[in-house]
Amino acid sequence: MEMEFSDVGGVTKAVLNGRMDSLSVGQAETSFIAHIVPKEQPAVVDLTGVSFIASLGIRMLLGTARALDRYGARLVLFGPQADVMEIIETTALTEIIPVVETEAEAVAAAMA
């Protein structure tokens, strides 16, 4: 899984590409959290390029969102492919983390 991070007007933007399976998440999780949580600001995660997600990928997103929440900052996901969205919905992650279609919607939701 490839990751890129940037700052969009006070919102951390993470772009993920590839598979969020147990192997790739195991290699990437610490770095992902370290690029987002210490900034203590809202964050959006671009899932457009993610082709597969399993429970450890869900855990990575959930753990990051929970850590940000302690600082009063929100994590918002956007652009998941249909197969990825089905897994996100099946875990009920959408109950506690917003998932929207576009980056603009995500940034607006994160700043709300």
């Binding site: 399976d21 147990s22 597969f52 869900i58 959930l62 929970r66 249909a82 099946t90 875990t91 506690i96």
Partner: protein, 143 residues
């Protein structure tokens, strides 16, 4: 397997992180030519990932992981066996629904995912003595 038909694919893998990818490649290589819906293949892939990675990460005294797959009548049957200590992954109760980030559990998400993505999921302890094995059998409906 619940089906009377023998599985069409059997992969015997040494326990270790590589078994997750090896099982994925083996099962998808078998299923992809059969014209199964992409959504079903994704569900199969997620279920397999959860079951095998669970074994690799948490199984005790597991040496051999055997994955079998079959497809008949719009149904995918998957069976994952291991030779480790007895462990029923479905014995744990369903976790509480996610309501707030602060209360959300960070672990134990995989087996509930398996339950929800499958039409049926069961555990059996089979064999005895040195031949005793854990067997998890799941059925995924195509469509």
């Amino acid at each position: 397997m619940e089906s009377s038909e023998e599985p069409k694919l059997v992969a015997r893998l040494a326990n270790g992180p590589a078994a997750v990818e090896q099982s994925r490649v083996a099962v998808l290589s078998y299923l992809e030519p059969l014209g199964i819906f992409a959504r079903t293949l994704n569900r199969v892939e997620v279920v397999l990932e959860e079951l095998v990675s669970n074994l690799v990460r948490h199984g005790k005294d597991v040496n051999l992981v055997t994955v079998a797959a079959g497809y008949r009548g719009g149904v995918v049957d998957l069976v994952v066996e291991d030779d480790g200590d007895a462990f029923d992954p479905f014995a744990l109760p369903e976790p509480a629904p996610l309501t707030t980030l602060a209360d959300a559990p960070l672990g134990g998400l995989g087996i509930p995912l398996v339950r929800r993505l499958t039409a049926s999921a069961r555990y059996d302890r089979i064999g005895s003595g040195s031949d005793a094995r854990n067997r998890v059998s799941v059925r995924i409906t195509d469509g």
